[in-house]
Symmetry: C2
Subunit: 354 residues, 2 copies
């Protein structure tokens, strides 16, 4: 087995999910993640904990949704709830066989199922939980890479010294929380927001692995100015590119996209909250050197910032509510991040590098 | 998808596990059983029930056992127990990637783990449960076949009219239970036992799919005579062949094997109960025309009988206890089964065919 898989498993167990003796662990994995499941079983055994693995197959979920009635999809599976409630930690491995298996599913049924399953998500959020990726052909294909290239990409982003990364992210958090506003400056960009009373969260590989971002929810009606997102992103099966947004009093008042502007329009017009920013964030993972149309990686690229239209995180004290949360990324090698009177980031350098 | 997979799923859901609206179902499957898991999801959705699939990977179990301490292996995973307790039906699919993955595992640890997990087996036995097979390369290899041949073999044995099969098996059961003894006669064979107070069970595709046997536990100290088992079988990684056993007052007093006699000896000498028969049975599945070294199929071959040394089934009122239960099969095309004064089977014909 690729020794990087064992190293990945060790980071998940020891750093991310902090599995300890006696822990009852639920792993969710697809058949493509088999090698990581084997490595996790070894690591979990070493610390004296107890794993069970739930088999995620997109085609099985698709067959279930296609054949189930709305009555069936509206019923919470109590045995799954019992499993979730009685576990201590959950490890979800994203490693699809086919990223587009749900594309043709009935969207009304999808929304209903996701609503039915919300109590399970809430139970997950109340435990130690980690979402990670195991390199597979479907994700390599989406990233425009061979599987071997994609493995190098994933492990380059994931097998970091997370204790060190965490220290740097907490320095950023501490400096950002000294101030009550944030400003992103760069080519075609000058975006400003108040952050008073909001919490900056250092995402240091506990819930997302890889991670590497420090994020907050801006005060909703204080976002103003304009921003140009130069990194493409995938939404609703479309690659949206070159997004320009202008904000006044927290709301998008003008927008354009170089590609898929209609999709951007439909996102912005989803509901009241989708016209506002739910997140502003700084990416810090320099192990990620290119975008791959997978937000788990792209929003963490080192020397970038990102903003999300839509729902805000309650942990940040965010209040914006929306059915969507759409991240958009901007490279900052030519830009600056300023909080109050302090330069947090400038043209390729974080504050401790200046 | 091979239409036989959908047909298999339909039989499992409707006949074997009798899944109905609202049922909470646990499926256990390996990555090789993916297509059947997809088909089962569709069938289970159709009847309005709720599946969750547990991922069985031999290499993961092996890694876990190798790395776990005895303390860890001795602890029952309470979250798995919670899942099992709150389900209505369990469907286990045998479809290994490698039938020999556990061969090198520490046998002391294996025994300990199996003891720890016994409460889970007992929970399973208290629910509706079905064990079936999905054709895969590992089982095809063990059966000395290509995967395509093996698919034909498995579906030939499995996609039967189980309602009709069941009727025939219940006729056998009814006739066998009219009498208080059983006798297997054939080349080098004349074996006799009392069956007073014992129950004959018709295995008609509910718990095992495929199935096709009617079995009981003989009165322990009444087994006498000799028998020649001409069909090879796999035990402890060895193919044992041409077993001859002689019984007096229920105990093996003489034995030989044409191949692997030492392995046979070690089985017989396991404990007190392993010198006695725990099962005597008649195979009835004419969809199975050859042995494949997989007991789930071999013991059900039509026109055969089989006996097991060791542990008896409590459901038959059997009392013999042993750590082993080793089935051995004899073809009966030249033989007879007689109960009391009635010929149950004779040279290729069951009683209703004579």
């Amino acid at each position: 087995m690729d020794p990087r898989i064992a190293e990945h498993a060790k980071i998940i167990v020891e750093w991310s999910a902090e599995i300890k003796k006696g822990d009852r662990v639920v792993i969710r994995a697809s058949p493509a993640a088999q090698d990581l499941v084997v490595a996790l079983n070894r690591e979990i055994a070493r610390v004296g904990a107890h794993p069970i693995t739930i088999f995620d197959i997109e085609d099985a979920s698709r067959a279930y949704i296609d054949a189930a009635s709305e009555e069936t999809l509206g019923r919470l599976p109590e045995h799954v709830k019992a499993l979730y409630e009685s576990c201590d930690a959950m490890i979800a491995i994203r490693s699809p066989l086919n990223t587009r298996a749900m594309a043709g599913a009935d969207s009304k049924k999808m929304v209903l199922l996701s609503k039915t399953m919300r109590p399970l998500s809430n139970i997950t959020l109340s435990k130690r939980w980690t979402l990670t990726v195991h390199p597979c052909n479907a994700l390599a294909q989406q990233a425009n890479m061979s599987l071997d290239e994609y493995r190098d990409f994933v492990y380059g982003a994931t097998l970091l010294d997370w204790k060190e990364e965490s220290k740097m992210m907490y320095v950023l958090k501490e400096h950002l929380e000294r101030h009550s506003d944030i400003r992103f400056i760069g080519p075609e960009t000058d975006l400003y927001a108040k952050t008073e009373g909001r919490i900056w969260i250092a995402s240091d590989g506990k819930h997302n692995l890889p991670s590497g971002e420090v994020f907050t929810a801006p005060v909703e009606d204080t976002v103003g100015g304009k921003i140009y997102f130069d990194i493409p992103f995938l939404q609703r099966g479309k690659v949206i590119q070159g997004v320009r947004l202008t904000f006044e009093k927290g709301e998008v008042v003008d927008f354009s996209a170089e590609k898929e502007q209609d999709t951007l329009k439909s996102i912005i017009e989803t509901d009241e909250g989708s016209r506002r920013l739910g997140e502003m964030a700084i990416g810090t993972n320099r192990g990620i050197k290119q975008y791959t149309l997978n937000m788990l990686f792209d929003e963490k690229i080192g020397d970038t910032i990102h903003c999300a239209l839509g729902n805000a995180y309650k942990e940040c004290n965010g209040r914006n509510e929306s059915a969507v949360h759409v991240d958009m990324i901007k490279s900052m090698k030519e830009g600056e991040v300023i909080a109050g009177d302090e330069v947090i980031y400038s043209k390729g350098k974080y504050l401790w590098e200046m």
